[in-house]
């Protein structure tokens, strides 16, 4: 089995993680009498995971460079408040309510301020040499306090209508047809990438994987995309909502056309986009290469002419930008911005990243691992909630799982120290 996986050049850690996720899902499904693996629950799971998943992508790069960011939850909180005020209090003075530009301007303001907050923390870590743990621990307090100051504690609601689509919800999906289009594009991209990569290696006469492995790999990836879209399309809008939509389009409701699919929720689309972009950044750009080089040996990176300080600022700034995206997703999902939004998210994000196989010692980690890690965390939480487990017991279980995950990773890592051999 292991030799088979090696031939296919898949990350053994990834397979282990996928198996764990599957066990959790099947376990909860059995325990809940078939209420866990349903289109509806999977849809909700994807929406609930989105905010943490987006931040986890950035946290991978932070931890790979041997840093940590404890302030992401607090940054999310302050950015959600700022974006709430921008869209609900400031912009309505200039634009009419629910103006199509409102959400765009709001998001841009959030992204810029997020990047600025991240840069400030990055400067303190990179140039002043204060350990990231301390800078961001301070940041946690500062930004959480700042979140309160934005409105003196008042919760901002209602939010802009278009902005709220970023949070999923009934209208925050792209529907069945567009979901199929996205699936088709994704599958075409997967096949194209596989062919292009193989051709390139062959043109240099490098060893390539056996062709059957290539087919299997590609088929598995494409299959996962298909299953995901089929599942999300199988979750239909509640009848009343469907009626309203038909009404607004001026179509009479009949038995068949009342069945309207949710399709891919917008937050999931955002996660996919962020993850793809950051994976390309990590694997295919100088920036990403330097992030890993710094994590592997900061001295060597410096000697190779890499500006480690500037890279540190950039990585933290990126984290801040991603916090803004997460802030938009979570406030849009809750349809309001409260100053305690994102509380304890730093721990969820770090746990997701670590469960996803990123080494706290730096130099090692993947974006897709972090995504699965985030999904594992959220599945545990949602599953236990579904079974009516106390919240206090939920935290105990999740805490233990985190420790166990890192332990087992260390254990297996020691046994198979070269993940690609």
């Amino acid at each position: 089995m292991t030799r088979l996986l090696a031939k296919m050049e898949v990350d053994r850690r990834l397979v282990g993680l996928a198996v764990v996720l599957l066990i959790i899902w099947i376990g909860f499904d059995l325990a809940s009498g078939g209420r866990f693996i349903t289109p509806r629950n999977i849809f909700n799971l994807s929406v609930q995971t989105a905010s943490v998943a987006v931040m986890a992508c950035g946290m991978v790069l932070i931890i790979v460079t041997r840093h940590i960011d404890l302030s992401v939850g607090a940054i999310l909180g302050v950015l959600a408040m700022i974006m709430g005020v921008v869209q609900s209090d400031i912009l309505p003075q200039f634009l009419e309510y629910n103006h199509p530009m409102t959400w765009v301007i709001t998001l841009i303001v959030g992204l810029i301020i997020g990047g600025a907050i991240g840069s400030i923390q990055g400067l303190a870590v990179g140039y002043l040499g204060v350990p990231a743990f301390i800078v961001t621990l301070g940041g946690l307090l500062v930004w959480r306090g700042a979140a309160w100051w934005v409105t003196q504690g008042r919760t901002v609601a209602p939010l802009d209508h278009n902005f709220m689509l970023l949070g999923g919800g009934i209208e925050g999906t792209i529907g069945a047809t567009w979901s199929w289009v996205v699936a088709a594009i994704a599958i075409a991209a997967i096949i194209y990438a596989a062919i292009k990569d193989r051709r390139r290696r062959l043109s240099f006469e490098f060893p390539v994987k056996p062709i059957w492995a290539e087919y299997t790999n590609t088929a598995i990836k494409a299959g996962l995309v298909l299953i995901a879209v089929i599942t999300l399309n199988a979750y239909h809008l509640p009848e009343r909502a469907a009626e309203r939509i038909l009404e607004s389009r001026g179509i009479a409701a009949t038995a068949e056309n009342l069945v309207i699919s949710h399709g891919i929720p917008i937050p999931l689309l955002i996660v996919a986009l962020v993850a793809i972009v950051l994976t390309i950044v990590a694997k295919r750009t100088r920036f990403g290469r330097y992030v890993f080089a710094i994590g592997g040996n900061p001295q060597a990176a410096e000697l190779a002419g890499i500006n480690v300080k500037r890279m540190t600022v950039a990585v933290f700034a990126l984290m801040g930008v991603l916090c803004a995206i997460s802030a938009a997703i979570s406030s849009a999902r809750l349809q309001s911005a409260g100053n305690d939004l994102g509380t304890l998210d730093e721990l969820r994000v770090i746990a997701a990243v670590v469960i996803g196989g990123t080494s706290l010692a730096g130099g090692l980690g993947t974006i897709y691992g972090a995504l699965i890690g985030a999904l594992v965390m959220q599945s545990l939480q949602s599953g236990m909630a579904l079974l009516g487990v106390d919240t206090s017991l939920q935290s105990i279980v999740i805490g233990l799982v985190l420790v166990l995950a890192v332990f087992s990773d260390k254990y297996f890592h020691r046994r198979y120290s070269d993940p690609t051999a």
Binding site: R200, R201, S203, F204, F206, I280, K283, R284, T285, R286, R289, F292, A293, G295, G296, N297, Q299, A300, A301, E302, L303, A304, G305, I306, G363, L364, S417, D418, T420, A421
Partner: protein
Amino acid sequence: MPETNNSNTDKNPLVEMRDIHISFGGVKAVDGVSIDLYPGEVVGVLGHNGAGKSTLIKVLSGAYQADSGQIIVDGREAKIENARDARDNNIETIYQNLALADNLDAAQNLFLGREFTDKFGFLDDAAMEHKAREVLHRLNPNFKKFTSPVSALSGGQRQSVAIARALLFEARVLIMDEPCAALGVHETRMVGELIDQLKRDGLGILLISHDLHDVFDLSDRLHVMKNGKLVGTVPTKDVTHDDVLGMIILGKMPEHLMHLAGPGATNAPNKEALQ
């Protein structure tokens, strides 16, 4: 710098370091040292632990900046403030602690800081791996592990990667700090052959080593340091192991080469050493 009677005096030196001073807190790690290096020449830098060898060459490779002193490359004064400046002057360094990123593979390490990119600015890993295979094959035909992280390589294989890294970028001056420290007998011999080959190609090599045998076999001249000062510079063929040990331990030039003594040396044996 006194005249040295080596065969290269007709050429201009590739690099000269003049009167370099650098201290850390109160420690004068390098104290008024001048050395030079000619094309096609291997020069050994010898001295006890803490003599200042690594510090001296780090000034040349841009890792440290001298408190005072000059660096002259090809007859012109060069400002070397960081690793990139050194590289712009075709000075490459292979560090004592093997400056490789353990988590990256051979090709990624070879090209670190100077990656190939395609027309969109994305990394061209296949092209880099191709070039890496070519260079590494020339150095070490047995090298096979191109896609494993270098942490999975043996000491000799890692050294091959480090040396290949320097070669890849057409170094004219190669600085090697303990290149054989982590290596077995066979691998040490391999590095030795490599140094000979590079020397024939006209590179100037500064070789730091604690192994007198290696240094005697490989180098044309020896700079000996003690307590941050240059004891003297001697042609390898004119001295014996004992002469050199005397220089290292006592900081004393051999009698018959007294006329070559460096500015840091005294006629009498070093006072501290006698205590």
